[in-house]
């Protein structure tokens, strides 16, 4: 399969030609930069998206943890998260492919808003499928999509959340595949989506790798990123995968496209004679309230797919899943809607299986503390997703080494209400007293 035992194309036959077409376009435009596709992508991400994002030394966190903590500031990307890296790449690719219409699913609304703004920017008609329950919970994101000119299609089936929206988007795609591109929002789905999304997101790690060498004169000892579907994770990790003491990964074929895919990355790497610096890659999953699955209820009170999941096929790929013994997918849970997914990118599953990536979990409470700590100490309100990566700093120290890069995948303005509600329920060590000033 695409990544060791993981990946593949488990989709209805009707979609296979579209995946072949997409794979062809991926090879031509992304890998070979045909018609200057990647140049245009990078120019637009610079001018429209705000790249490069800074790598910021977090002074107060560094002091707290007595090591150098650097933050990769994806929260500063247009739209407030790394999501645009992928959405803009795919919408642009769809345009190069001659597609006339963009569809996407969204759960909490982050991928939907990123896709809607990319589609507006590139003048492509766009429809977003969103569960009715999510629509009611995330009204501001619905308005943002509408203001960007996207149609928002409510999905009323089932619980009206992400998984129904995905199913409905797949159905639209299966019907309109010839003229429509489905912008998948993470490094999931059938080949070539996991590679395509990874390559669009890998700008995160490419920038961070150059920035940390510039700032610290060396590679980091570890890179920490939260993992739901895994797009910010793979985006942060991809360029660092070969930075491994194990020579197997130093020439990992999954990274082979890099230098051709991205001429900016065609700088000489470390001198061949010197021992290769080793960078640990830590994927922080949502531990939710517990790591146990409730088989009877079909619920996992976590989204710790890499840490606790088992192999299976979901949404087009063989990967690790949260599932019951008989194969039914369970409902995952996390305080962070963006991590709340029962699957994970197949390449991450592969990198975990082969030992290159270390999966860890941070529970809801520790993530909330991570949120408050960054807000209070550094003046950056992180997304609840990113707060998991930040929460891990508190739980783990020495194994991270002296120089740590943490990916702040998005900003937390969208999470204020959730954080308030969840903070009130708990006695959080890092939370300020949030009076409501009722008046």
């Amino acid at each position: 399969r695409t990544f060791g035992d993981y990946g593949g194309q488990y989709v209805p036959e009707a979609l296979m030609p579209a995946l072949q077409e997409l794979e062809d376009a991926y090879e031509r435009y992304v890998i070979e930069n045909e018609d200057g596709f990647m140049d245009e992508f990078r120019d637009r991400m610079r001018d429209f998206g705000g790249r490069p994002t800074p790598l910021q030394r977090a002074d107060r966190l560094s002091e707290r943890y007595d090591r150098e903590i650097y933050l990769k500031r994806e929260d500063l990307v247009h739209g407030g998260a790394h999501k645009l890296n992928n959405a803009l790449g795919q919408v642009l690719l769809a345009k190069y492919m001659g597609k006339e219409r963009i569809i996407a699913e969204t759960g909490a609304g982050q991928h939907g808003t990123a896709t809607a703004m990319a589609a507006a920017h590139l003048d492509m008609p766009c429809e977003i499928y969103m569960g009715r329950t999510d629509i009611n919970r995330q009204r501001p994101n619905v308005y943002r999509m509408r203001m960007n000119g996207a149609e928002v299609n409510p999905v009323t089936a089932g619980s009206g959340t992400l998984k129904e929206a995905i199913n409905e988007t797949m159905r639209d795609w299966a019907t309109t595949v010839e003229r429509t591109h489905y912008v998948i929002g993470s490094v999931v789905g059938p080949h070539p989506f996991p590679k395509l999304v990874r390559d669009f997101q890998s700008v995160i790690g490419r920038e961070a790798r150059a920035q940390i060498q510039d700032r610290a004169g060396r590679l980091p000892d570890s890179v920490v990123a939260c993992a739901g579907g895994g797009s910010n994770t793979m985006g942060a990790f991809h360029e660092f995968v070969p930075d491994c003491a194990n020579p197997r990964f130093a020439d990992d074929s999954s990274s082979a496209e890099r230098s051709s895919a991205d001429s900016q990355a065609a700088q000489p790497r470390d001198d061949g004679d010197e021992p290769r610096e080793h960078v640990d890659l830590v994927a922080v999953e949502a531990g939710g309230s517990s790591l146990e699955i409730d088989e009877a209820a079909g619920l996992a009170p976590n989204s710790a797919t890499l840490s606790t999941g088992t192999d299976g096929v979901l949404h087009g790929a063989m990967t690790k899943l949260l599932q019951q013994g008989d194969g039914q997918i369970v409902e995952s849970h996390s305080v962070s809607a963006g991590l709340d997914y029962a699957g994970v990118g197949p390449e991450l599953a592969h990198l975990v299986e082969t030992g290159r990536v270390t999966p860890v979990t941070v529970d809801d409470e520790a993530a909330l503390n991570g949120f408050h700590r960054l807000s209070n100490l550094e003046g950056i309100i992180p997304a609840l997703e990113s707060s998991h990566a930040l929460g891990y700093l508190e739980e783990s120290h020495d194994e991270l080494g002296d120089v740590v890069v943490v990916n702040v995948s998005g900003r937390g303005d969208k999470d204020l209400e959730t954080v308030l509600e969840e903070t009130e329920k708990r006695d959080l060590e890092a939370a300020p007293d949030v009076e409501v000033f009722d008046g």
Binding site: Q9, E13, A157
Partner: protein, 306 residues
């Protein structure tokens, strides 16, 4: 993957391994009893219901009614929580079946119990097949399917490119693995799939998902024209709901029609009042008559039910 037919016509390695309850064809004229059921009952009617909707006991009655009504092959859906290829009708049926607690174990016990004229196939998603057994491996499922007397497997999210492990297991246990041919399946892929047909080619009538429609799409005619050169049984599904559809499809060159959502609609409507079995039997008869009309070239519309 090579393009060659992996099961040359000359060999008949699997007939003897068939489940005991289904009547073996009198002569081993065809590779499989699935193919036989279509060829010998031309024009064939293939019926789908979701196992466990609204309960496994009901499903037993429904399958028997369809068998009586004239279905030549019956697809039994084993429900999966993420049915990405289904339209709203079958998705709802699957949700009802899951809420009723339908499990693979229960499904196979139902199949163990069933005695029908028509061979049975299981239609389910790949993960359900993978997870049957202690680890992710397709073989325990296939072994159990064969033991229960199923004749074949249809997996809507398993394209030919990913099918090797399951086909190997099916070959080993003498089950057909039915591939779907979509309106978008063309050129090399079409050749490759058609050269590997097992049982029959499931011709998807139109782009999109399953679901009853009011008419037969032009894509159906285009697909059948495209497939006419291949000497394999072709059954057309997705959107077939009336006898007249069946007639039109058979007339256009199909060997059979596949009806699912129209039957599930009947179950959803009559599930509570207990009349579903009779209605299903009548619907099967209507569809079979329609198919026959198409085969004989008669244009007469379906007569009103007495």
């Amino acid at each position: 993957m090579s393009g060659e037919d992996r099961r040359p016509k000359g060999e008949e390695p699997r007939n003897g391994e068939r489940g005991a309850k289904r009547p073996a064809s009198v002569e081993p004229a065809y590779d499989s009893d699935v193919e036989a059921a279509i060829r010998e009952n031309y024009p064939a009617l293939i019926a789908y219901v979701t196992a466990g909707d609204p309960s496994l006991a009901d499903t037993k009655a429904y399958v028997e009614a369809l068998d009586r009504g004239g279905a030549d092959l019956i697809e039994l859906g084993l429900p999966f929580s993420e049915p990405i290829a289904e339209g709203p009708t079958i998705q709802a049926a699957i949700n009802r079946a899951l809420e009723a607690g339908t499990t693979p174990q229960g499904f196979f016990e139902l199949v163990d119990d069933l005695e029908t004229e028509a061979p049975l196939l299981v239609m389910t998603y790949y993960n359900m097949i993978l997870q049957y057994g202690p680890e992710a491996d397709v073989r325990p499922f296939v072994e159990r399917a064969a033991e229960a007397g199923l004749s074949g497997i249809i997996v809507p999210d398993l394209p030919a490119e990913e099918a090797d492990p399951l086909r190997d297991a099916c070959d080993e246990h003498g089950l057909d693995l039915v591939f779907i041919v979509a309106p978008t399946t063309e050129g090399d892929r079409l050749d490759r799939i058609m050269s590997q047909v097992s049982g029959f080619a499931y011709v998807q009538a139109r782009l999109g998902t399953t679901g009853a429609r009011a008419n037969v799409s032009t894509a159906t005619h285009d697909s059948l024209a495209r497939l006419s050169a291949y000497d394999v049984p072709k059954a057309v599904g997705f959107g077939v709901s009336e006898g007249d559809h069946a007639a039109e499809i058979i007339e256009a060159g199909a060997d059979g029609v596949i009806v699912g959502s129209a039957l599930v609609d009947i179950i959803a409507e009559h599930g509570a009042d207990g009349d579903a079995a009779a209605a299903l039997e009548a619907k099967a008869a209507e569809l079979k008559r329609g198919a026959r009309r198409g085969a004989t070239g008669e244009d007469a519309p379906e007569p009103e039910q007495p």
